[in-house]
Structure formats: C-alpha cells, structure tokens
Symmetry: C2
Subunit: 290 residues, 2 copies
C-alpha cells in the first residue's frame, strides 16, 4: 500500500466484516500499517464482493480461531471468488473494558458487548458480581453506543483499536479468561493486483502455500494424496477435512505447507496431487506470519 515517491495514488480502502474497531481492523493495521483506509461490510460475502468489483483494493478476512476453529464460510468464498491470499497475520483477541472519559471503574454497573466476548470474560464477571452483562450487536459497536450516549454507569468490552477510534478510556486491559485466543487473518488482493505487486520477503524467510482439494472417500485416498508432499519433504502446517454436503463420502481438504507455490518441488507435488484429486485449487502463497 506504500506509494512510490512522486507517484500520486488514490488510496482505495481495504474491506473487512464488522464495525469500525472490530478485530479485523486490528488485523488490517497489523498487515498494512496504522493508517490503512478501511471499508467495513455487513457480511463476509460483501467483503469478497467489494474486492472483486473494485470498491476495495484489498480484503482482510478471519480464517481460523484457536478456540472456535476454521471459518468454513470464508474457505467457501475463497473457492467461489478468484482472490489470491498474499499475506497472513495473527491477532491475539484481547478484551478491554472501555468507558467514556471520567467514568470510574467503581461507577460501572452495566457492561455492553457481543455475547461471545461477554462469555470470554466470565472470570472477570465472577470477580465483580455487581456488574450486569448486557448483550450488544458487536464489540466495537458497543463502545460507539456507550460513548455516543455518554452513559455514566456503563462500559463496553472491545479491542483497544475500538477505544482509540471512538475516543473511549480503557478502565481494565485484557480481562479475557483465556489468553490463548488468537484469530488468524488472510489479506486478499485481486489477481492482477497480486501480479503487478509481487510480495517481497526477506531472502530466507519461510513461505506458506494454502490449497483446497477433494478426493473420493475410499480407504487410503488421503494417504495417497499426502504422499505427493511427503515424498518431496514438504512440511505440512495445516490439514483439515470437511464433508462435502450433498455428496456423501466426498471430502474437501484444506492443506498448508511451508514452501512457495512456484518452487520446482511444489510444482511436482501439485502435478502429482492433480492425478489423485477430483478437484484442486491453490488459494495463495505468502510469507509466513509471525
């Protein structure tokens, strides 16, 4: 997204699902810097469509969470749209208690947030039984509401980015019960953009490639498919099966390994896999995230 010196660029935004200050916006900042222009969308499908139709120049979508698993809906969109993955990042889901400036912790009687966020802070609420939990449509939106209404007895639970965007004051940091809560995000581009702006990485930095394929579920089918990678010493970092609905006994597999898709041994592995799979699609190659 960095403009070359002397070249004027109209900055098109990066699309994500959710309100301003959602964890997806935190991911967008990690990937593209704190001043990235953003386009919040209501649905994941709108995010993909905004990028495909050129209203956005990139899209940031969650793909898996350490507690809640893979976001199958976004794998479906990755197959339906031709929008390559060009980067990944991981965001630790840190929940903060956010109130209007001047509101003290002891004045807080009600806390608004998305029920999933409220449930991820049950230890905090057990320690403070005087505080009522109030469900709200989303985490960042609850900060916006509490701030706009100027509530004197209320706070919201959301990311620190939401506190910054809406001008809230963080009363308590990191009140989530489980700190092992991370969400992994992909950055997507249109194919022509990805070709014109090849991703650069340090010389010996590891790369990842993500793909989906399907096989008939006969005994040993997956074992044979994985031989394409094992025989070439390619190191898998993710595998997941997903039953194909409406097609009993057929499975889709998500696979990731540590190498660029254009490396010669990967090209051989993919040719080998094509012999064995009913369907194969490379979703992207990108530098491994921190």
């Amino acid at each position: 997204m960095s403009a070359r010196p002397g070249v004027k660029t109209r900055v098109k935004p990066v699309a994500f699902q959710g309100a301003r200050g959602a964890f997806s916006e935190e991911a967008a900042r990690q990937l593209l810097g704190p001043r990235v222009a953003v386009l919040p969308c209501e649905r994941f499908e709108d995010v993909f469509r905004s990028l495909a139709e050129g209203r956005a120049e990139g899209a940031v979508v969650p793909i898996e969470n350490t507690l809640a698993g893979s976001v199958h809906e976004n794998y479906d969109h990755l197959q339906a749209f031709d929008l390559p993955i060009v980067a990944e990042t991981s965001v630790r889901i840190v929940h903060n208690l956010i109130a209007p400036a001047g509101v003290k912790f002891r004045a807080v009687k009600r806390v608004f947030s998305h029920p999933v966020a409220l449930n991820q802070c049950l230890d905090f609420f057990a320690r403070h039984p005087r505080i009522e939990r109030v469900p709200f449509y989303d985490t960042a939106g609850s900060v916006k509401m509490v701030l706009e209404e100027g509530l004197k007895d209320a706070a919201a639970i959301a990311s620190s980015v939401a506190a910054e965007i809406y001008g809230g004051h963080i009363l308590r940091r990191s009140i989530e019960s489980d700190r092992r809560n991370f969400t992994r995000f992909f950055l997507l581009r249109r194919p022509e953009y990805a070709r014109r702006h090849p991703v650069r990485a340090a010389r010996n930095a590891p790369w990842k490639t993500s793909l989906v394929f399907s096989t008939r579920n006969i005994p040993g089918a997956l074992f044979r498919a994985l031989s394409a990678f094992a025989l070439r010493d390619l190191n898998l970092t993710k595998i997941e099966s997903r039953p194909l609905r409406g097609k009993p006994w057929e499975y889709l597999f998500y696979l990731e390994f540590l190498e660029r898709a254009d490396a010669p041994n990967v090209q051989n592995a993919l040719n080998h896999l094509r012999e064995l799979a009913d369907f194969l699609r490379v979703l992207g190659s990108y530098p491994k995230g921190a």
Copy 2:
C-alpha cells in the same frame, strides 16, 4: 436411559451448555428421547465437571458446526476429563420466529436473539426492513424474555424446542439464510457407566472411533502416522490439525474412522500409531449417527 422393567431408577439429568431450549437440548432429545431430564450449565467446563462429579448421568456437547468449524474448547475438555463418547448426532440449526400467542406477524417491530442467530437470518431482515434486530444473551433466553414480559410488538429467534418449553407461538419457521447449517454433538458418559451399559447397535451398523494424537512436525510425520490406518484399509471420516500453543512445530491431530476401537485391525493400527506418535488418546467408539 431406559429403565429395566421392575427396577426403580432415580433419573439423573443430562448436562448441556446454555439455557433451556438451546440447540444442545434439541440434540439431547434426539439422542435420549423427548422426555430426557436436563441440567443447563453456564460454561462447557461446568458440563464436563457435572458429569465427572456425578451431578449428571450424561453430557451433550457440540463438537463441530458446518459453518463455524470444530469447537476446540470441547476437544480440550475431552482430553482433560476421562469421559468417553458413546453416541453422536447432528442437529440442523433451524431458526424460527417466535412470539407470544395472539401477536401477529405484522405487529412485530423488534426481534430479539443472539447476534450469531440474527446474522444467520439477514435475508429475512432484508425482506422486512421495518423489523429492528435487538441482540440478546442467547436464542432460547430471548424467547423466555419476550414471553415473560408479554411484549406485544416483539418476537424472538430460536429453536422450536424453545418455543415449546416457554409456550411461544411460531410465526415463521426456518428463516435462516443458509440451510447447510448443522451442528454435530457428542453424548458423553462416565467410564464405569459406559462399561455397565454397552452401546447396542444394529448388527451391520457402521461404527466410528474418535482419537487425538500428536507428532513432532517433521516432514512426512503425518504421512507415516496415517499409514497405520491406510495399510489396514480403515476409512477416515475426519482429520484436523491444530497447532499446540507454546510448543512451536508440534501439532495435535483429531482423527475419526469407520470402525470400532476393539476390532482387531484397529488394535493393530493403534499399536502402530503408538510407535509414531508422542501422545495418543482414544476418545470413544460409537454408532455412526444419521
């Protein structure tokens, strides 16, 4: 759960996470009949603990959803507690619009539910822009509230079981946008209960076995592990990797295949896998669900 004739049994409940009428209760009914006694719990951990400590005689927990992926938290509890899986079932997540008796659809101005449920009905709300979406703590709880408060301009979105339990009237059935929304549930017992009440199934009915194992992430490690099953023609129905947090390069794998754990070829496969895996745990063997 069926009592033997002439033997009086005190019926202990089955624990699940959520309020009465949650989709987990629908799963409990599918597994154990419509009159099953239930123990609603606030957290998944409470569900496991209730069963382990004898306050419940069974537990019903969601393990994966076709849109949202595997519930890693419950895989963690399955490893921490010694509570074997004895049955599985799949529930289609059908969202119904539920109001107090006498409230007509055209009178509904506000609809309460969990934000995830509200978001799964966006097509319905797009067709009825006059209706406001109001987030609530859970689906079934929103039915309880709308009924108890006797709201004349409001409805809730939840399962048909919630409508039945709280005496609500279903105004519109199945208003979810995506009908491919299924959640798979496990029924758990204490080990001694499972030994005393072996599961019976039709003679040729297929069985499933679920296990978790870990390997060091060296190239080909998973390929070698899967050879234990492929060489014995065992048919995998699920595989999923999960990075072990705090142990870079080590992975946990969830695996399922179509055979009983006590079948001789499975015993051989498990002995073979023990040679290759750092850790191996069989979570249960149970008749394949519909």
